[in-house]
């Protein structure tokens, strides 16, 4: 698929922080599409992530979204393409692209993060959530099994029992519901999310890039391994759950 470079750049912006040395900012900013993972947005994100990975000036990357939505998961069109078999969910390598970034990543999730959008945030090393926003794994609400590695990624920040409930129930919980229940780094009022994320990133970015890179590889190893194992299982589950005769109807009836 061809991607218009200009519009792709507008959907996802990569910049250096004007306030903090060596802090990069990757902002998902598809206001018209409400930051739902459409094909153009996924391509733009992958392109910007690849650029960030190569940029030696960035010691720590802050992943941001729009004020009210961090990332909304797969768009309706994207899900239709998956059901029709035009795209395999495993082709969506966003999670891997974030997990494989050589520098530490702070997810500033001020707005909602649902489904694949939550999975994307969970690929970061450090998470900042908003008390008011909602976070959930909506996959099962639409009748298909979870993807983008979330089956295991949730356990990075919460107990397997709580992760199981979030995955089975599809309930989008408010950030404040997670206070005291997870290992998420910060859950603060929405207006403070980015400020907190940048404060953390600035402190990290002072360190030498090579040492950060070494530590990142080491600390992210369990998640990268878990992701690879999970991809295999998620892919098997998707073949069956998306292949059900009523899959398209269920998505149409339950997509929010």
């Amino acid at each position: 698929m061809g991607v218009d470079t200009h519009s792709a750049a507008a959907l996802v912006q990569l910049s250096l922080s004007p306030d903090f040395d060596h802090v990069g900012i990757l902002r998902i900013a598809d206001a018209d599409g409400r930051n739902a993972l459409s094909e153009p947005l996924v391509h733009a994100l992958l392109a910007r992530l690849a650029e960030a990975a190569q940029d030696e000036r960035i010691h720590c990357l802050v992943l941001c979204g729009l004020p009210d939505v961090f990332c909304a998961g797969a768009s309706r069109d994207m899900l239709a393409s998956i059901v029709q078999g035009r795209i395999a969910p495993t082709d969506i390598l966003l999670s891997k692209a974030v997990l494989d970034l050589p520098m530490p990543v702070v997810a500033a999730m001020a707005g909602h993060a649902i489904g694949g959008g939550l999975a994307l945030g969970l690929c970061a090393d450090i998470l900042v959530l908003a008390r008011e926003s909602r976070y959930g794994a909506s996959f099962m609400n639409m009748g298909f099994t979870p993807g983008m590695g979330i089956t295991k990624l949730l356990e990075h920040v919460m107990s397997p029992a709580l992760a199981a409930e979030i995955l089975f129930s599809g309930e989008p919980r408010r950030g404040r519901d997670f206070i005291g229940m997870t290992g998420v780094n910060y859950i603060v009022p929405r207006v403070e999310v980015e400020e907190r994320a940048f404060a953390v990133a600035a402190r990290i970015a002072e360190k030498p890039r090579t040492s950060l890179q070494l530590l990142k590889r080491t600390l992210s190893l369990p998640r990268r391994q878990a992701f690879e194992a999970t991809r295999t299982m998620e892919s098997l589950m998707h073949e069956i759950s998306f292949g059900q005769p009523d899959a398209a109807k269920r998505i149409e009836e339950n997509y929010d």
């Binding site: 909602h112 649902i114 909602r134 009836e253 339950n254 997509y255 929010d256």
Partner: protein, 87 residues
């Protein structure tokens, strides 16, 4: 089931979803958005209300509603339907 009971269920879930919203401030002639609920809050209020009332209303019908009164009427109508006809 009475209309008041349905309104009470919806109000309960709305208050749970919106920080600081008091029952006295819920004017059913207004939309949930007017009362501070965002799109995901609204989905959650509707889905919790349907679950508690043991009714199911298609998304296509819900998307047409413009205020709380209309939601209550829709849920009440669904609740009055014979159980075997409920989706």
């Amino acid at each position: 089931m009475t209309r008041e009971q349905v309104l009470k269920v919806v109000s309960k879930h709305l208050m749970d979803a919106v920080d600081g919203l008091e029952e006295s401030k819920i004017d059913p002639a207004r939309s949930m958005k007017d009362l501070g609920a965002n799109s995901l809050d609204i989905v959650e209020v509707v889905s919790r209300s349907m679950r508690e009332l043991k009714v199911k209303v298609p998304r296509s019908e819900l998307s047409k509603l413009t205020n709380i009164n209309e939601l209550v009427d829709t849920l009440l109508k669904a609740a009055s339907t014979a159980p075997e006809q409920r989706a």
